[in-house]
């Protein structure tokens, strides 16, 4: 397994020249992005260095408590990111709470399923397997949940007259919101479907590439990648369905009214 080639810091420094070239181009063409470009590059280095430290410690102690805490922090960050991407948010705690809880539920269910049935490390919560798996599932789940909720809220607001017209004629909220729910779920699942269809032809997934660079035989790396794609599809679907249905629950009420008053005004994004 350990046939990988270790990198030195000088090699990294040499590669960072490309970022400096980008910055120089920005200055030359007056793009005004050199400052944010350099800042992003430095931020990435610091974040990854910290993650490296944290993972080294986590992997050495193999504790259910600490693995769980790391997973929780990841979910909370993902929830924050998904909430940030909403053009119109649910009011109050719902904005953050709904996306976060749905992501937590779906990504944990799918990750634990994979650890119990497919990967089966010993112990099952070994962070070397649990954390990277959760990270990949969570990252995609975040995109799906964010897109699903954003489509739901903007589309309900945009088609308010049509939805209420059906309610006025005596339709139930389930019937009146069905087209919008379908649209939201479709947009949530589209990235997963596209990435599954394009994988291997257009793009070589990062995880598989990483394993191959790490010395794993390609056929084995491919098996892992297929497993991960299935987990991502499952986690995204589960997270998006619960988030969108939760959103509809919040934006309607027991009297079958449309409650757009529980939505904040549009955010410039």
């Amino acid at each position: 397994m350990s046939s990988y080639i270790a990198l030195t810091y000088w090699q990294l420094a040499a590669a960072s020249v490309f970022v400096l070239i980008d910055a120089a181009l920005s200055v030359f063409f007056g793009l005004r992005v050199h400052r944010s470009l350099l800042f992003a590059a430095i931020r990435m280095v610091v974040q990854l260095a910290l993650v490296g430290l944290v993972l080294t410690t986590l992997f050495s102690i193999v504790s259910l408590l600490w693995t769980g805490l790391a997973a929780l922090v990841m979910v909370l960050f993902a929830g924050h990111e998904a909430a940030q991407r909403q053009e119109r948010r649910l009011s109050g705690w719902w904005s953050y709470g709904l996306g976060t809880s749905c992501m937590m539920m779906s990504s944990v269910v799918v990750t634990v399923f994979a650890l119990m049935t497919a990967v089966r490390p010993n112990p099952w919560y070994d962070p070397r397997y649990a954390i990277p798996l959760l990270g990949m599932i969570l990252g995609n789940c975040m995109t799906g949940v964010g897109l699903g909720l954003n489509t739901l809220t903007t589309s309900l607001a945009g088609r308010r007259a049509g939805v209420e017209a059906q309610l006025m004629l005596g339709a139930s909220k389930q019937v009146a919101t069905a087209p919008v729910v379908r649209e939201a779920l479709r947009s949530a699942l589209m990235p997963v479907i596209n990435s599954m269809a394009a994988t291997g032809v257009v793009s070589l997934p990062g995880m598989m590439t990483g394993q191959i660079l790490g010395g794993v035989p390609p056929a084995e790396a491919v098996k892992y990648q297929i497993l991960v794609m299935f987990l991502i599809a499952g986690g995204t679907g589960l997270g998006a369905v619960t988030a969108v249905l939760g959103g509809v629950y919040r934006l309607t009420d027991a009297r079958h009214r449309l409650r757009l008053d529980r939505l904040t005004s549009p955010q410039p994004t």
């Binding site: 939805v163 004629l169 079958h256």
Partner: protein
């Protein structure tokens, strides 16, 4: 006002004055001040008042489309005892700008054949079924939404300026169509800015201004009749 209602009912032999069909007590929302009034079967009441005065708020609260409080009963049945959709099938609402959820006219009706019977009275033909909604004029949309609302067979109909964008011939057609339904027992609240229309279609009037609903008291009731 009772003399009025009696005079009105006298020319309508199919109706006997009785207890009100719709009774509203302290209906209020966070914007609308408490409103109380009643409406009888076969009665059409005109609602007038300045723009932004709360007429639409009142109709939306009656149709239970916005959160509201107060006691609203139909035929003695408390609104709170029935689900929202059931209430809205009994108390129909035609907004000033009706909404659409599909591409063509026909898609908005469970049976266009059934709808066409009513639609013909408002100037539509059999082949209107395939018309795209996007190409309809404001007046056509209003008339089609009225057809849609009438087909539900509700007992009370709340109309928010149903003839605002119509030509005189269409206005007459709409007034005749609703008038026939009222004579058959439908109770109607009709929001209109047109004073002459208000006196054509209704005897009683409610004034909604500054988000307050009150009965209009006229000095010489029905002097022209």
């Amino acid at each position: 006002m009772t003399t009025h209602a009696e005079a009105l009912l006298a020319d309508r032999p199919d109706f006997k004055p009785g207890r009100p069909l719709l009774s509203v007590r302290d209906l209020r929302t966070n914007l609308l001040k408490p409103a109380s009034f009643t409406l009888s079967a076969g009665e059409c009441v005109a609602i007038r008042g300045p723009s932004g005065g709360g007429k639409t708020l009142l109709l939306r609260a009656l149709a239970d489309l916005d959160p509201n409080e107060g006691l609203v009963c139909l035929d003695g049945r408390d609104r709170a005892t029935m689900p929202g959709p059931e209430w809205r099938r009994l108390v129909g609402y035609l907004p000033a700008e009706p909404g659409w959820w599909a591409d063509t006219v026909g898609d908005h009706f469970t049976s266009w054949a059934e709808a066409a019977v009513v639609a013909r009275a408002l100037g539509f033909t059999e082949d209107s079924e395939d018309w795209p909604i996007a190409r309809l004029s404001t007046g056509e949309r209003l008339r089609l939404a009225l057809v849609r609302a009438l087909l539900v067979g509700s007992k009370v109909l709340l109309l928010d300026e149903p003839t605002a964008a119509l030509d005189p011939a269409s206005v007459r057609a709409v007034e005749e169509l609703i008038g026939a339904r009222v004579r058959a027992g439908l109770a109607v609240l009709w929001v209109t800015h047109d004073v002459e229309q208000a006196s054509r279609v209704a005897v009683r009037r409610l004034i909604v201004s500054a988000r307050q609903v009150r009965e209009e008291v006229r000095e010489c009731p029905a002097i022209s009749r």
